[in-house]
């Protein structure tokens, strides 16, 4: 049996829970997998194997080295390796061929595992722990702010899934510009929010999960705890324990990078490696700064998130209820706002700049969003008056009044019966302007009676497209009630499930059932396809009419009409074999 078949077979036997852990730890994108063969293929790719080996903590690395050398297995640790699909299941615990290949590539490291020496900085060259903590505190503050911004961004915009669980570059760029950070930082925030299950993919769109609602209600301390526990989960128990054990030997400020190097002897520092990612995430959520660990990081390793948060809070800026309203329609908070105030403000004001001091901007669109979520102009005015030491400038008053008068001038309704949605306004000129808007041409808006346009597109898609261009539209239900954008973006609990790893695993199981009792047939086909795709040689065992088994070493060219076409280099001929007669394929 080839390695792919062996791995696929082992995967079939694993529990759903183990599969979930495997998929998470090996960072496999499960959304596109069709069957276990696909998963096996993803796990045995050289890059995936190397990355998995690089992420092994010291004890597992040593065990793998020992198994590679043919020594007796330590069943407990070997089982952990088997669960990661690096070695076969017990009792053999034999490293897979792909694992051996990857280990051969790491030859020097393998032999040097026990003697890795990390050069440590003398104490006088280490930074002051208080300064490290202060920098980490700033990181926590900024990341929590950025994640909150992402939640509001997804509430206000339609962000499509691009590629496999990716965000399109224009959306990344826009979000990065909004945060005034790099594109990579914006991507990290997406990744972190996704990892923390605050955002998810549903129907090809990045949406807010139910956790995002909780996040908005949480205090900064609770938000930090969530991020810290997310990181801890990604690190895994065995790694966390080993890291913790390594740290206990040191006093004073500790370098996370050095600790990671010690704990992960195979870590190669490549951008895609798990350790690099974990190290990057640790810096992002304020567990480390410039590579040095915060004083609360060790509590996170011990799963003491409340304790970590308590320490971290001392380094976070204290919230203050103060807002400065300016005539240029900006609102400036000269320090972090209390969470409830911030959330209320963000409903009717867009952020222009976030940081220790944040700048918000009012516009007709932002106020309409506030009104759609159930706020009233009176509440908005009251909040501004309460927080501001100065009176509300005239342009802000003018804008509030205008937004209130015009609210609902452009309405979107949908009709589930004829699968169309309708855009209506009492102002025919506005309808004519929308009809003439080139950016809305793809919607093929059809004029019906006076002041009504119809389209086959979903109401939500039209709603966001109109807002993107600057038309202040609202969605209303059949009874004429305003549909809150919050309700529209958060009614995804069901679709949320459809994108979880667990459902991906169920899909693999269902596919398995469909294949019936002869899964190997399908595996054979997949092996042949793989050989064709990679122009690889394979040993084909064919059953002849007389029942005799004959083996050929062939280079498959293609499959047609139930027959395999392949080159037989030895015989220097081209063979065509009935697929039904092939009983075994082993990639050479």
């Amino acid at each position: 049996m080839s390695e792919l078949l062996q791995v696929a077979a082992a995967l079939r036997k694993m529990s759903d829970e183990s599969l979930q852990t495997l998929i998470a730890e090996r960072m496999v994108n499960s959304s596109q997998l069709v069957d276990f063969f696909d998963l096996a293929e993803a796990l045995t790719k050289p890059a995936s194997i190397s990355s998995a080996i690089a992420a092994l903590p010291l004890t597992q690395a040593l065990e793998l080295k020992s198994l590679y050398a043919g020594q007796k297995a330590n069943p407990k640790i070997a089982r952990e390796l088997a669960n990661q699909m690096l070695v076969s299941a017990e009792p053999d615990f034999k490293p897979f061929e792909s694992t051996i290949e990857a280990l051969t590539g790491l030859g020097n490291l393998v032999t040097a595992t026990r003697s890795i020496a990390v050069v440590e900085l003398p104490p006088e060259e280490r930074p002051d722990q208080d300064r490290v903590d202060r920098d980490c505190g700033l990181e926590i503050f900024e990341t929590v702010q950025a994640v909150t911004e992402l939640i509001f961004d997804l509430e206000n915009r339609y962000v499509r899934e691009v590629g496999k669980k990716q965000v399109g570059l224009p959306d990344v760029k826009r979000f990065a510009a909004h945060l005034r950070k790099t594109n990579d930082y914006a991507k990290q925030i997406y990744e972190l929010a996704h990892l923390a299950n605050l955002i998810s993919l549903a129907n090809g769109r990045w949406q807010l999960s139910n956790n995002s609602v909780l996040w908005l209600g949480w205090s900064p301390a609770e938000r930090f705890e969530t991020l810290a526990s997310t990181w801890r989960k990604a690190l895994g128990d065995s790694s966390a324990n080993e890291l913790q054990a390594a740290l206990s030997k040191y006093s004073g400020v500790v370098s996370l990078q050095q600790s990671l190097h010690k704990t992960y002897p195979f870590a190669d520092g490549s951008v895609t490696s798990k350790i690099t990612k974990l190290s990057g995430l640790a810096a992002l959520i304020g567990l480390s700064a410039n590579g040095w660990m915060s004083s609360w990081a060790s509590k996170v390793l011990k799963n003491d998130f409340a304790g970590a948060s308590k320490l971290a809070q001392q380094k976070l800026p204290a919230p203050q209820s103060k807002l400065i309203c300016q005539a240029d329609l900006t609102l400036i908070a000269p320090g972090p706002l209390p969470t409830d105030v911030e959330i209320m403000l963000r409903r009717f004001a867009d952020t222009e700049q976030i940081g220790m001091a944040s700048t918000y901007r009012l516009s007709a669109l932002s106020i309409s969003h506030g009104l759609e979520t159930g706020q009233t102009v009176v509440e908005i005015r009251d909040l501004l008056a309460k927080l501001s030491d100065n009176s509300i400038p005239q342009p802000i008053e003018y804008l509030l009044n205008e937004a209130e008068t015009r609210f609902g001038r452009l309405k979107i309704t949908s009709d589930s019966e004829d699968a169309r949605c309708y855009l209506s306004s009492p102002d025919p000129v506005l309808i004519a302007e929308i009809l003439n808007e080139s950016k809305l041409k793809p919607f093929a808006l059809q004029p019906l009676e006076d002041g009504v346009l119809a389209t086959r597109f979903e109401a939500e898609v039209l709603y966001f497209a109109l807002r993107e261009i600057g038309f202040v539209a609202i969605r209303v239900d059949g009874a004429g009630n305003v549909i809150s954008p919050l309700a529209a973006t958060r009614q995804i609990a069901d679709s949320e499930k459809s994108n979880s790893t667990l459902i991906d695993i169920q899909r693999l199981r269902i596919q398995e059932t469909k294949l019936g009792a002869a899964p190997d047939d399908d595996d054979l086909q997949r092996q042949i396809q793989l050989a064709i795709k990679n122009k690889a040689k394979a040993r084909f065992t064919v059953s002849s009419n007389s029942g005799e088994e004959i083996e050929f070493l062939l280079e498959p060219i293609g499959i047609a009409n139930g027959r395999l076409r392949a080159k037989d280099r030895k015989a220097d001929i081209e063979r065509t074999l009935p697929i039904a007669n092939i009983i075994r394929v082993v990639l050479d």
Partner: protein, 544 residues
């Protein structure tokens, strides 16, 4: 956390709470290295830029000084990223320098061989060099001083220029202050400029930039070339120099489309310098026609690209740029820095206003509802035509009339972009118009009538946007503009900022068609002034 007035953000902006007791002190220290980006009522935003940090290094300050200032006034801890960036950026300044060798040759010098090699191997810089002189120096082509500085700045290794300036042919110039007094900020601006060698002075319209030019000339006491935007401005400069300095008619020449005089002080227009004949700049010789010791660039934010190129060859002469705003719609602020020089002096408009040197101004945005027929025309028109339709609506004429009636007797400018609209408005109001088509003599006559009060209203095109001195104008009605141009809005308001004899507040109205692109452009146009602390009151035309 302290109680300081400053919040330093990780994107390298610093927000200053204006009402804080330490704000004035902090502003003074920040001005050394940070650019004032926005100065609305309560919170001023500064940006810590590479150019700003290098300016500070040029003035003899180091990273410890900058970080010390930030730490002293910061309300929250300064982010470590900002700290390391400031240290790293400042350490790059002056590692390379331009100087003259003993043999009088220009050389690019550095004791850091790696940096010298990096610079000298750069494709664009190597073309400007003429081989190594030693391990520490490369010869610079005699004509390439400006370009080398430009390219080094782009590379991130700004060079200190120790090659000095030609003193120019001496010419006695003094300020004639018998009946006037130079203001403190003008003196400070000249001192900062002179100490820095070359650079830009940023002052609001009406704050006396010409006096700064004259005072710089009185300090340099040398042959001076003054470059201005148009002939009317050239003549105003001449009149002002005659009034404020000891210079006489014989000393000052005009080099424009109509006159070609080269005298110890010569005032030339950008247009004449960029005029081409047979694909060559016909008047380039002017730049070397005299041994200029000082070149003054008026309205430096409008400096045309070819003049940048010419300026690159004039690095041996002191250069003074004058402007009300460094905002360039073409984003060439970096070229102004490397070729004219760094910003040497800047003062928020409201600060000068508070000192009583420019008139207070109230700004109004008047929103006009277009009638349905016009709205429908607008709705079905192409994107390109929309602004024109919105901005030239005939519904503006009754609004203009109402505003003129409201300010009856006050000197009023009606400023527009489209000639046909200007003709229409001029005819409807029965007042004279000035456009690019109006002969210079006729323009001067009308401006003079306006100054003396013989005319109280003028309809003008963009020719009156800048460099026209109309001290008594106190009302401006902007009926259309160059789309979202921020500097145009600033220049137009600037027409009103000369302090009035009776101390009255100027009124600046901008007419906007509601729910059109006009409204979007207006928001962009108003940005610069909002950032200078001017707020617009929004009015409905029907409520006037």
């Amino acid at each position: 956390m302290t109680n300081g007035p400053l919040i330093v953000q990780s994107d390298k902006t610093a927000l200053l709470e204006v009402d804080h007791p330490q704000a004035a002190e902090a502003r003074h220290d920040l001005a050394v290295f940070a650019e004032l980006e926005r100065a609305p009522e309560h919170i001023h935003t500064y940006r810590i830029t590479r150019l700003g940090l290098w300016n500070a290094r040029a003035a003899g300050h180091d990273a410890d000084f900058v970080l010390g200032v930030l730490d002293k006034y910061a309300k929250f801890a300064v982010p470590s990223g900002v700290r390391s960036d400031i240290t790293e950026t400042m350490s790059r300044y002056g590692r390379l320098s331009i100087r003259k060798s003993a043999a009088g040759e220009l050389e690019l010098f550095s004791t850091d061989r790696a940096i010298l090699l990096e610079a000298s191997k750069h494709r664009k810089i190597s073309e400007l060099l003429d081989g190594p002189i030693s391990n520490e120096a490369f010869r610079i082509q005699p004509w390439a001083r400006g370009q080398v500085k430009q390219e080094l700045l782009k590379l991130g290794w700004p060079a200190e220029d120790f090659a000095g300036y030609t003193p120019g042919t001496p010419h006695e110039i003094s300020l004639d202050t018998d009946d006037w007094k130079i203001r403190d900020y003008q003196t400070k601006a000249v001192e900062k400029f002179w100490d820095g060698g070359s650079g830009v002075v940023v002052l609001p319209c009406g704050a006396g930039k010409t006096i700064v030019g004259a005072a710089a000339m009185a300090t340099a006491k040398t042959n001076t070339l003054i470059l201005v935007t148009n002939t009317v401005s050239a003549r105003q400069w001449k009149a002002e120099l005659l009034k404020r300095t000891t210079l006489t008619e014989e000393d000052i020449g005009e080099y424009s489309g109509s006159l070609k005089e080269v005298k110890p002080v010569t005032i030339a227009t950008y247009q004449i310098l960029t005029t081409k004949r047979k694909n060559e700049y016909a008047h380039l010789a002017l730049l070397n026609a005299n041994d200029w010791g000082l070149i003054v660039y008026d309205e430096v934010h409008l400096l045309p690209a070819p003049i940048f190129k010419m300026t690159a060859d004039l690095q041996a002469r002191r250069r003074l740029g004058l402007t009300a705003t460094l905002v360039r719609e073409d984003g060439k602020e970096g070229d102004v820095f490397s070729l004219i020089g760094p910003k040497r002096f800047d003062a928020p408009w409201k600060e000068i206003e508070a000192q009583g040197y420019i008139a207070p101004a109230a700004c109004f945005e008047v929103r006009i509802d277009l009638p349905d027929t016009e709205r429908m025309d607008y709705a079905v028109s192409s994107q390109e035509d929309r602004y024109r339709i919105a901005a030239t609506s005939p519904t503006r004429i009754p609004v203009i009339k109402k505003l003129i009636e409201k300010h009856a007797g006050e000197p009023t400018l009606v400023i527009g972009q489209y000639l046909s609209q200007i003709h229409e408005v001029s005819a409807a109001l029965n007042v004279p118009e000035i456009t690019g088509e109006t002969p210079v003599d006729e323009r001067e006559r009308l401006f003079e009538q306006f100054r003396t009060g013989e005319l109280t209203t003028l309809v003008v095109s963009k020719v009156a946007n800048f460099s026209v001195d109309l001290p008594e104008a106190s009302v401006a009605i902007q009926i259309s503009g160059s789309y979202g141009s921020r500097q145009e809005e600033a220049q137009r308001l600037g027409r009103l900022l000369r302090p009035k004899a009776d101390g009255r507040t100027a009124s600046f109205y901008t007419l906007i068609s509601r729910d059109t692109v006009d409204q979007d452009f207006a928001q962009n146009r108003q940005r610069f002034l909002a950032e200078q602390g001017y707020s617009y009151e929004i009015m409905d035309a029907h409520a006037l």
